[in-house]
C-alpha cells in the first residue's frame, strides 16, 4: 500500500469517528488542530490496529501531524509484514500506545491485560 492509500484510510477513520471535513485532513494537519487529544489518539491508534491489522507498540511515538501518523503506520506495516505469517495479529496488541494520557494513576497503556485482571469487581 502506498503512502497515499494509508492516508486515505486514516482520513476515512477520522471522518467517521470525529466528523472532520475531509479537506482538513492533509498530511501537514496537526492532530492538535484537528482536535485529536491524547485520549482521542489512543482511540485512533486502536482503530488503526484494527484497520491495518498491525500492532502499535506501547512505546510513545512522536506523532504531531497526520503525515507523521501515516508514516508511522507504513513503518509498522513494513516491520510487521514479515511477522504476520507466523504471529496472530490480534494476539498481543497493546492498544494504548502511550501518547501522554492526561491523568490517572495507571497509564492506559495496556488495556489488553492478562485474562486474570479484573478492571472492576
Amino acid at each position: 500500500m502506498t503512502m497515499t492509500s494509508t492516508l486515505d484510510t486514516l482520513r476515512a477513520l477520522l471522518v467517521k469517528d470525529h466528523a472532520l471535513e475531509p479537506e482538513r485532513l492533509t498530511p501537514d494537519a496537526t492532530l492538535a488542530d484537528l482536535g485529536i487529544d491524547s485520549l482521542a489518539t489512543i482511540e485512533m491508534l486502536w482503530n488503526i490496529e484494527t484497520a491495518f491489522g498491525i500492532d502499535v507498540p506501547t512505546e510513545p511515538a512522536p506523532l504531531t501531524t497526520l503525515g507523521d501518523v501515516a508514516d508511522y503506520v507504513d513503518q509498522l506495516r513494513a516491520e510487521q509484514s514479515g511477522e504476520s505469517a507466523s504471529s496472530d495479529a490480534d494476539s498481543d496488541a497493546d492498544s494504548g500506545a502511550d501518547s501522554g494520557a492526561d491523568s490517572g494513576a495507571g497509564t492506559p497503556a495496556s488495556p489488553a491485560a492478562s485474562p486474570d485482571s479484573t478492571p472492576a469487581s
Binding site: 485520549l39 491508534l45 489488553a112
Partner: protein
Amino acid sequence: MNRRVAVTGIGTVSSLGNDAEALITAARAGRSGVRRLDTAFAHRLNDPVAATADVDDEALGMPPAKLRMLDRVSRFALHSANQALASSSDALAGLDPARAGTFLGTGVAGTQSIDDSYRTLYEQGSDRIAPFTVLMGMHNAAASWIGGEHGLEGPQLTYSTACSSATVAIGEAWRRVAGGELELALAGGAEAPLSYGSLQAWAALRTLAGTQGDDPSAACRPFSKDRSGMVLGEGAAVLVLEPLERAVARGATVLGEVIGYAATNEAGHITRPTVDGQAAAMRAALGSADIDAGQIEAINAHGTGTRANDATETAAIRQVFGAHAESIPISATKSMHGHLLGAAGAIEAALALLAMRERIALPTRHLNQPDPVCDLDYVPNAVREGISARTTLSSSFAFGGSNAVLVLRAGR
C-alpha cells in the same frame, strides 16, 4: 446543621419517562415501565423482565468522539443533571464553582462496558478490548461527567452502597449544604445494570421476579402476597440542592426541602434485613430532622417486592410509628419503575417531592393479594388525590446492610 436546604431542580430518565413531569405523570397514572426484556442475550435468561429506559443521547449535545467515552450509566446521569440544572432557573449563576459539588450514587456503575470487555476477552477470545474501558467502567465516571460538564469544582463524590447509594449521596450532599461548606450540590444516582452478567448475577441470587402470568408489566408486586421478587430497572435522577435562603433570594421555585437524613448499618446478615435495623435507620432520620414520628405524613417505601424486605419493612414502620403507622400512605413505586439499585433512592426522593407538590399519594401497583404480614396502607393500585402531606420519609435498605433514610418536606 443550621441552614435549610431547598430542592430547586429535578432531572430524571427512567422507564417512566425522561423528565420530572413525565415521571410524575406516569406514576400518578400507575403506569408500569416494566416489560419483557428483548435484548440479544435475553434468550439466555430465565423469564427476563426489566424496566428499560429509552433516551436520545443526541440531547446531550456532545460531539460523538466525546460521547463514546460515556457508558450508558454516565449518559443517564448527565441527562438528569442537565435537566435538573435547566429546571432550576440557573442555579449556577453567580456561584463560586469551588462551592458547588457533585454527589452521585451508583451500585454497579459502568457494568455494561465491563461486560462488553469480558465478552471480547472470554467469549470472542480476543485480547483487544475497547480503549476507553477503564474510563467507562470506573465507578466515579458518571459523577465526573456531571461535575466536569457543569464546571463544579467542589467535591465530586461517588457513593456505592448498593441499593441505598443515591439516598446516601443526597443525604451527604444535604449535610454539606446545610453545614455551610457548599452553596450548591447536584445529588442523586444513576444505574444501568441491565447487562447480561449483571442480570445473571441477580438471578443467581434468586431475587428477581419472573413474569408471573402473561403480563410482564405486573411482575413487581410490593407488599402483595403473591410477590416473588424485585425487577431491575435502569435510569437516573439528580436533584439541585442549595440553601433555602439563596433559592428564595434568587426567586427560584422551591420544589421541596431535605430536612433530615441518616445512614446506619445492619451489622448483621449481608442480605437479610432486620426490623430493628430498618427501624433504627428511620428513627435516626427523624432525629436528624428533629421531628416526631407523628409528623411523618407519607412514606416512599423501599418496597422491593421481595418476600423478606416487604414484611420486614412493614414491621419496622409499625415499630417506629406505632398506631400512627396505620394512617400513613405508603407508596412502593418500584412496582412501576423497577429497582434502580444505586439510583433508586434518587428517583424515589424525586417522586416523593413531586407527589407532595401534586398533593397525591402514589400507588403501589400490582398489589392484588393482601398479605397478613404486610398490613398497612400501601395505596394499592390507584393514586390517591387530595393528600396534603408536607413531610415524607424515603427509605432505602441495601444489601450489605447500608440503610439510609431521607426526610423530605413539601415546597409549599
